[in-house]
Symmetry: C2
């Protein structure tokens, strides 16, 4: 069999297996898988450099299936390429506990470089990966020896209709990410019907306007043309490349070219017809040995050699650059222990707003941790992500670790996820808390993918003041706290802010959201080490314990003020600072009970945002359950009765 025949057989085997996988599960999206098979086959067999023997190999090419619904195709490829995805795994596609869930999941299945499915996010994550690739290479002496690879993404119309993708594309073009290659499986069909129902853009020109190269393959079954396009894309010197490949959705099915084949199994009959159409005559889930051999001789062999060469090269690089290697290894493992041993001790003593304290902590950490990298969505001066003497990450200064993400909150968060997925960097990003709304799905993705992304959210209550209700967060802490595996920390003063930062950079599988005030906060008797417990007694009660005041952030000082006034009125209160529900929930019952001290009907929570969620800990909540108001901060706060006197009144009324 010559290579051409082998290629054809392999593509047929991939398509047939996708049909089988989806048919067996009675669930899945065969449409795009069948259309895209030649693209992914060509990429894996002829270009992609990765190593099944070390699937997390740092210098592998990355491949992101942004159109995550075509997961059957990815799993089939991983199987053929020698990853730990067996035929049995393929047969348990979308079944409980299988290695082959409905959409690809990072850290769940070997060889999956990103969790994907929520449309557009794969592209934005890939942009983050490509940024990471360039940044890491630039940050080390002769860094291209240790980090120099391509990042490939496959998307369909869904991803490109999402606004997120334009943000990501625009960012990639601006950063001239020439090693980013995006395949656009253009099949002119979406779930509801023809693409022309909802879309009439000239995608080619949109990408060109965003400073991309654009290549086009008119026949999605023309392997040579796809191969040539990839080869050409790889030579790009200053622009990312879009390869538009015109395909037929559900290729081979009776329903090919229609939306009917988008999200439904072909079924036995149509599946058999499709296989006959391909001229493929093997029983279900039987793949000819020639196909396995083909991948062994292409993908596996290329990967093995490259991996071996890398290892040899890495050894010599390491001996030449021992210190750099130490840093790189820490960066890859995410280990920051060494950076907290340094003097002066990492903790300040002043009355800064927590955003200012955060800015100082960030500057200190930025200097200590050479792989901390990030920036804000055009609010560096407000969220305090400015790095003194920081160098901007630009095509001309790829060493710079300060990123101007632009006014693109969603892409920013997704790209930070991409940086975390890539590894070798600790990524952070900042915005006003109210605009966490624009980033919600990306934050969820951090949490789901177990990525230690760091989110800085300042302007954390109606104390934003004059900007008014459009810019004043109310329900946003509830939104963030409700996401599983997100550590939301709202520090009460500068000291807690520093502690929160330490926890954030130490985290390995949990994203952290630091919630920061615009206004100054007095330094309290806060305890640096206690922040990791989520909540602790910051101001003890008198001789007796009548009530516990539970507060976070700017309201801790308010609670302490109220505590004094309550004492004067004969009520003995304890004040608990509770920067993180997430961390508090991780404590044992004994600790929790000891901190709260009283039954729930005597616990009062105070937070200048929505009361939503607080009733888990307190029967009485002083919060704000309406939208905010435009006024100078002190007037806004007063208008919502966030005063010690009002808290005293609230406690007295509810203790009756």
């Amino acid at each position: 069999m010559n290579q051409k025949e082998l290629d054809k057989l392999s593509v047929n085997a991939i398509r047939a297996t996708c049909i089988d996988v989806v048919n067996k599960a009675k669930s899945g999206h065969p449409g795009m898988a069948l259309g895209s098979a030649p693209i992914v086959y060509t990429l894996f067999s002829k270009h992609l450099v990765a190593s099944p023997e070390d699937p997390m190999w740092f210098n592998r090419d990355r491949f992101v299936l942004s159109a995550g619904h075509a997961s059957s195709l990815l799993y089939t490829m991983l199987h053929l390429c020698g990853y730990k995805v067996s035929l049995d795994d393929l047969k348990s596609f979308r079944q409980l506990g299988s290695l082959t869930p409905g959409h690809p999941e990072f850290k769940h299945t070997q060889g999956v470089d990103a969790t994907s499915g929520p449309l557009g996010q794969g592209i934005a994550q890939a942009v983050g990966m490509a940024i990471a690739e360039r940044a890491v290479a630039a940050q080390y002496p002769q860094g291209k020896q240790v980090c120099s690879h391509y990042t490939y993404v496959l998307c369909g119309d869904g991803c490109l209709q999402e606004g997120l993708s334009q943000e990501a594309i625009s960012l990639a073009g601006h950063q001239k990410l020439n090693k980013l290659i995006l395949f656009y499986d253009s099949n002119a069909v979406t779930l509801d019907g023809g693409l022309d129902l909802s879309f009439s853009e000239n995608v080619k020109n949109r990408f060109k306007a965003s400073e991309w190269n654009v290549l086009e393959v008119n026949d999605g079954n023309d392997l040579d043309a796809i191969d040539e396009a990839i080869a050409k894309a790889k030579t790009s010197k200053s622009k990312p490349t879009l390869i538009i490949v015109h395909t037929v959705i559900g290729y081979g099915s009776e329903k090919q070219g229609t939306c009917k084949v988008h999200g439904n199994p072909l079924g036995e009959e149509d599946g058999a017809k499709a296989k006959a159409f391909y001229g493929y005559n093997y029983p279900a889930f039987e793949i000819p040995s020639e196909v396995y051999d083909n991948f062994k001789n292409s993908f596996v062999k290329r990967g093995k050699e490259a991996y071996k060469a890398y290892q040899a090269n890495y050894a010599s690089w390491k001996s030449a650059h021992a210190r750099a290697a130490l840093t790189l290894e820490r960066a890859i493992s995410g280990d920051v222990d060494a950076y907290f041993k340094k003097e002066p001790k990492f903790a300040p003593e002043n009355n800064d707003s927590s955003r200012v304290a955060s800015g100082k902590a960030l500057n200190e950490l930025y200097n200590r941790i050479p792989f901390l990298m990030g920036g804000s969505a055009d609010v560096a001066g407000s969220v305090m992500t400015k790095i003194n003497d920081g160098v901007n990450f630009t095509p001309r200064s790829p060493k710079g670790r300060n990123v101007n993400w632009g006014i693109r909150e969603f892409a920013m968060a997704s790209a930070v996820n991409g940086m975390c997925l890539h590894g070798g960097l600790k990524g952070y990003c900042g915005a006003f808390l109210v605009f966490s709304d624009y980033m919600k799905s990306a934050i969820r993705m951090s949490a789901l993918s177990k990525l230690p992304a760091i989110y800085l959210f300042s302007h954390d209550s109606i104390a934003v003041g004059e900007d008014g209700p459009t810019h004043q967060p109310i329900e946003h802490l509830a939104m963030l706290r409700s996401i599983p595996n997100v550590n939301v920390i709202r520090p009460c003063d500068a000291r807690e802010t520093y502690a929160a930062w330490e926890l954030a950079v130490r985290s390995k599988e949990t994203p952290t959201a630091l919630i920061l005030s615009r206004q100054n906060l007095p330094l309290l008797a806060s305890k640096y080490k206690e922040v990791e417990k989520g909540a602790y007694i910051i101001s003890k009660e008198g001789k007796r314990l009548d009530v516990t005041l539970l507060a976070t952030g700017s309201e801790v000082a308010l609670a302490i003020e109220a505590q004094k006034k309550l004492h004067e009125e004969g009520i003995e209160a304890r004040v608990v600072s509770m920067p993180s529900w997430f961390l508090f929930e991780k404590q044992d019952k004994a600790y929790k009970d000891s901190v709260l001290g009283v039954s729930k009907d005597k616990v009062f929570a105070v937070e200048m945002l929505s009361s939503f969620g607080w009733y888990k800990y307190a029967d009485h909540v002083m919060g704000i359950d309406t939208f905010g108001t435009s006024a100078p901060a002190k007037d806004a706060i007063k208008s919502f009765d966030f005063t010690a006197d009002h808290l005293v009144k609230f406690v007295k009324e509810n203790l009756k």
Copy 2:
């Protein structure tokens, strides 16, 4: 004074007033206001048709300040144009309770057509308005006599960097919304510095690729050129028009052209210098009478005449089309009473999934209510927004009320807000519940702007099944419920679904989110009329009341099953169906207590999503506080122990 001199004086007066307004408040964003003044002046004085004597006049041109931070400019224009914004109102810019809050707020200040500030949303809302304008005109006989106006938007770089704007632009181009005119105040500066820090797109070409006309004005102070561009844009027959106007941020300030003038008052000294630079010699807040007269003779006069002509014309249109006029007036007031008097009674009896029931309810309402209009984000067949024999809204069939929003959730939601802002339509849109994440900020905007947008969210739990954790909502109900003024309704069967729909279309100032199951739901002893109370007893306890089971949606049937089993074990339970927390909270304490029946420690909540928030009502919550899993629905449900037996066990353990 000739007109040219008068124009110049007017622009100077506008700029000077903006300086004064922001200086007095010591807060605000003068930069764009000063740059954009000539654009807005030209628009208002020469083109915009609206009427201060009837600010909500249905056929006025709409103007959306997408760059809401330039609010000082809008308020100044409204003052000069004779709206109820006095000099005193301008002097209390951004103060507590003033008519001139930090960002423009719909229904708060006369003449403000949209709440704006969160970047990108003004553009998308304007797209919705332009859709509404065309749709309303098409839906009535000789409809252009009653609805025929332009929609203008002003944005800056912030809006255009947001991905949302690309979704909106793409949708507008696809729909050939030729009466939509977008001004791009291009000043090449953002908050953090020069635009080139983060942006290198060719905006002109991006818009062209999205099927827009693009005009360009090189000198933002050239009133004639702006005037000509607007005149030309108004003649477009088949495309929306972008007018790029190159301006100087903070024009006249010492800091003009830099980011320093973006978000800070000029101060007295620089303000005085700017006024001197303009050659404008009036004390603060003093506006020469010639300027007022100029607006009286232009904007006000034009508006008055147009309004008068419209009224006369409307009277004759109404007498010729009495029935249509009745419908239109109902549409504008949002009154749907008449459509619920019809037989057969609006209520089904079957075991449909709530998404299917919703689809049937929608079809019925679509036929009854001629101004109900919407669609889904390419999931019509899944969220059940398909209208039998429905006509698609397209440039060729503007009468069609079925909208293919495309895979653009955020723009979809914002555009529905725009339809609501415009009036004359009841707008709805649909997506999977998990992708409410992409729409969060727009949903918040509906709530803040008091718009009765209708959101259909199907696939409402881990019972999504095979698609897995990326597609299974967990914390999404908490997210939606935590937004002030959003009525989240999760019906337990087909009957409650119909009731929820009736509440949704009857709503006038509150958006509604209908939360719909993928799986079938048995018809229970639900009560149509009780849904409006938010919660009610759906299955009474036996002779004694031991515990109350609080459930929503698909879990109500589960609770009823558990109730029987508990009875067998000697525990008498009441089951409460609680489709809407929002509506329940509106009931008086006596009703609430009567429904719950027991103290909180004996209330058990059951919902197959996050427990977050439920502790307000129940001390014991059976929920899911981790991410979901990819498996057939029944396996996924079982793996999370959502069975009647487990609920029985849970109750027994916690009653101890």
